[in-house]
């Protein structure tokens, strides 16, 4: 019994020490720091600007990629349905990318658990996006090579195109997969923490 009492006392002293340390930390910060107001508002304005820039970047990318693809379709005499499908796929991809990554986590109204759940949802949507896009991309590539084989009469040119596409595809796939698994891990860690919180 006495050991338990001492044990509780040790624990209380420890926590009292932590509280004291935290108070010391806060008064240290108050004493030794100055707030750079100009830099603070400059930083805030830059952030607002970069949010708008990323929106314009997505729109600009779409405005470049889609006409470019139409041009490629004409140059290689690719069938109109293939070009149309590619444009639809590109548009869907940019739109999904924009919606998922600009999901506003409203930290004002949410408690921590809700914020974490929204984050998990966002990451899950990203995972779904990659899981859907990847097989479609592979099928599209196979279709593209097939259409290209009909359109490019020169064997050497065709082989060079294939090699270039395969190398680029492998590198892109490796990068994409590593990002996918990293997000999956982060997602799982967050889910485990939320479960632990509610246990």
């Amino acid at each position: 019994m006495e050991n338990n009492f001492n044990h509780i006392n040790d624990n209380n002293e420890e926590l009292a020490l932590m509280r004291q340390q935290l108070n010391e930390l806060k008064s240290h910060i108050d004493r030794t720091t100055t707030l750079n107001e100009g830099l603070m508002f400059e930083s805030i304005k830059n952030k607002m600007r970069s949010v708008h820039c990323s929106i314009y970047r997505v729109i600009a990318l779409g405005c470049v990629a889609i006409p470019l693809w139409v041009g490629i379709g004409f140059y290689w005499n690719l069938p109109w349905y293939f070009t149309a499908f590619t444009i639809v796929m590109l548009t869907a991809s940019f739109t999904a990318d924009y919606i998922i990554n600009h999901m506003d986590i409203n930290t004002m109204d949410c408690n921590m658990a809700e914020t974490a759940q929204r984050l998990v949802k966002m990451k899950r949507h990203r995972n779904i996006q990659i899981s859907v896009a990847f097989p479609i991309l592979i099928l599209w590539l196979a279709w593209f090579f097939w259409e290209l084989s009909k359109s490019i009469p020169n064997d050497t040119e065709f082989k060079a195109m294939i090699i270039g596409c395969v190398v680029g595809g492998v590198i892109g796939a490796a990068v994409g997969l590593s990002i996918f698994f990293k997000l999956q891990r982060a997602n799982d860690e967050m889910i485990a923490q939320i479960k632990d919180l509610n246990s």
């Binding site: 040790d10 910060i29 707030l35 508002f41 805030i44 921590m112 914020t115 984050l119």
Partner: protein
């Protein structure tokens, strides 16, 4: 921007600056407990201020200012993907390097940091709020669990911290 709008913006900036001054130690302490180096602390601090500014107009005063600041700070710290450094860390709060222990002054702070950062993020938040003498109800409202659950979690956290210090 019209003169009236400019005055309102000036007032808003003035009020916001006052709030940040009053709560800078709270915000900075939270960022410190979720970081492993000074750059990360500065980065998180910047992100928290941005979130506070974005939510400033919507803050209706239903909760205390301190609760709101804590909620936004903690949410930001768990949300930020620190590997994604899209901006270089700017030093909005000059004069402090909490990770520099060359003078020996920060030893106590380092001890606290070492204890708390061994906990998972939600436990870190709960223990920080408890150390600030915040009520179980308020802790529950910030974290998103019942006051009873807060009590249970705190007991487990205390046991865990005790285990960590016993190992040392």
């Amino acid at each position: 921007m019209g003169r009236n709008e400019k005055r309102t913006m000036n007032e808003k900036e003035s009020q916001f600056t006052q709030i940040v001054r009053e709560h800078k130690s709270t915000i900075y302490s939270v960022c410190y407990m979720f970081s492993s180096d000074q750059d990360e602390v500065n980065d998180l601090f910047q992100e928290v201020l941005i979130k506070l500014w974005q939510g400033f107009d919507k803050f209706e005063g239903r909760s205390a200012m301190r609760t709101w600041v804590y909620r936004v700070s903690l949410n930001t710290c768990i949300s930020i993907d620190r590997k994604k450094k899209s901006r270089p860390a700017t030093t909005i709060l000059d004069g402090v390097d909490l990770f520099d222990d060359s003078g020996g002054e920060n030893h106590q702070l380092a001890m606290l940091h070492s204890r708390i950062t061994q906990l998972p993020p939600f436990d870190r938040a709960i223990v920080l709020l408890w150390l600030e003498n915040i009520s179980y109800e308020e802790i529950g409202a910030i974290v998103g669990i019942s006051p009873q659950n807060v009590s249970v979690k705190l007991f487990r956290i205390k046991e865990r911290l005790k285990g960590l210090s016993a190992k040392k």
